[in-house]
Symmetry: C2
Subunit: 257 residues, 2 copies
DNA sequence: TTGCTCCTCACGTCACGTGAGGTGGC
DNA sequence: TTGCTCCTCACGTCACGTGAGGTGGC
């Protein structure tokens, strides 16, 4: 190797890099550099006789920092402001950016996993057991409205909570296997068209509360989850029938939820 | 738990979610959903009596897929095209997206490490040894031009190749410690102002080639690196002096590079 | 002279965000 | 009636990309 194989970077006046060389060197576009000038991220260098910008090593180093922050997802305006920030303010900002970056990496990993689930077809069709379950509902005398509702419901639950969906589904299957509980669900379905003030609504609410207490005790499931899915789904159910709406109100009051 | 705590998702006609509910549910903005409609990513649902869009579970599932692909960085136009893609084409696309995602995660990790280096001040000032080295150069009789050149050079190298910069630097220090090699570097510095055709240029080139062969044998360092930094730096050196330019040509020819 | 790089507007793009002005359900 | 959600333009924004039309060095 020659005594100074990397002995060049500057010429006589110390600024030799043209904008194109600087861009290729640091790995950003020429346009990006000009934008950084316009927005005050990178000081404009002096011009040579032809009006060309001439950059020195200092610019290259600054630009590398800027590029790194841009890659980290920091807005250009923020990067500009950080130029004039105090030292500990800068440190604090870098800590935040680091935490942000770490969150984004975790998010991308989750995204990757979800895409693999898609590729595995986990979302293209519901598990076969769900189809069997829907057929079973029809056989048991549930309305088509109820079956469709259940179909869409499980699609959503399996799509958004694949980890716990199977557990929830198995619970439903077991409920349907108990004749007394099955009857309650059938009555829930039929209550759709009742007058909200019909005594049968009150009666059904009482039976549901009792069955729920017996099955789950005082620790109601679905309360500890941080998802808003239960609330959303119940809201949609309520929207479709005044009787169902009143049923929900009564149950909610009794269970103290 | 009530027999059907998540039995709601649809009302009579099967589409109960308004755009706002759907948006909150899936975790995207209302505007984003409307954009996906406009660009053909998500089919427009039917409207209710008020002209409001009413969505079903199918839309929610589709939207979750879209959001996941968007998070993965897939352009909207691409996502739209994938809707009508054949099955194995889709699988191929998902493989590419996965590879892409993996590369982005790696990139973000590298960015994170570089930001930590910045925070540690590894770039704010050069290592102290570099400053000592520059002082040493002045003491040895190098021109200020050479010293400035070296300063900017090491700033760049340490900024872009922190891993190997120290190795390269140590090599330079050892070269300067050898009196014969030191003289060659001094002559390189002085050659800046020679006439390119001066016989001393040819002589210096010969000595550099011999010294390089002796020091590194046939295996020249810097050739195997995938970086274009050496070439860039040499280009800048050459630009500042016709004599240096000719020197580079002669050396290059002799070493067969 | 040719080809390459550079210059400065200026408009385009991508994925939305943000009112402007109006309507519909509890 | 009030407050909330929804509707449709339409323009704004962020970080550049992309010519348009012209100049300068080998």
């Amino acid at each position: 190797m020659r005594p100074c194989p990397w002995g060049r970077v500057k010429c006589d006046d110390g600024r030799v890099l043209t904008i194109g060389r600087l861009a290729r060197y640091v790995g950003v576009s020429i346009k990006a550099i000009r934008v950084y000038h316009d927005k005050g991220l990178l000081p404009e260098p002096e011009r040579d006789a032809s009006g060309y910008r001439r950059y020195g090593a200092r610019h290259a180093v600054d630009l590398i920092k800027i590029r790194t922050l841009v890659e980290a997802g920091v807005p250009l305006a923020r990067i500009r402001d950080l130029r004039s920030a105090a030292d500990d303010e800068l440190r604090q900002a870098l800590r935040e950016i680091d935490a942000n970056l770490s969150a984004r990496i975790r998010g991308l990993r989750a995204t990757r996993q979800r895409l693999r689930d898609f590729a595995d077809g986990r979302l293209r069709a519901l598990p076969a057991e769900v189809g069997d379950h829907l057929d079973e509902l029809r056989r048991l005398g549930f309305t088509e409205r109820w079956v469709t509702l259940q179909s869409d419901l499980w699609l959503l639950v399996f799509a958004t909570y694949p980890e716990t969906a199977s557990t929830m589904f198995d619970d439903q299957v077991r409920i349907l296997a108990d004749p007394a509980l099955q009857q309650i669900v059938l009555d829930y379905d039929q209550a759709h068209d009742l007058d909200p003030l019909d005594a049968r609504v009150d009666d059904l609410a009482g039976r549901i509360v009792a069955a729920t207490r017996e099955r789950y005790g005082s620790e109601l499931p679905g309360q500890d989850t941080d998802s808003e899915i239960p609330a959303l789904i119940q809201g949609e159910v309520n929207a479709s029938s005044p009787a169902w709406r009143r049923l929900d109100t009564l149950i909610r009051k009794s269970l103290g939820a």
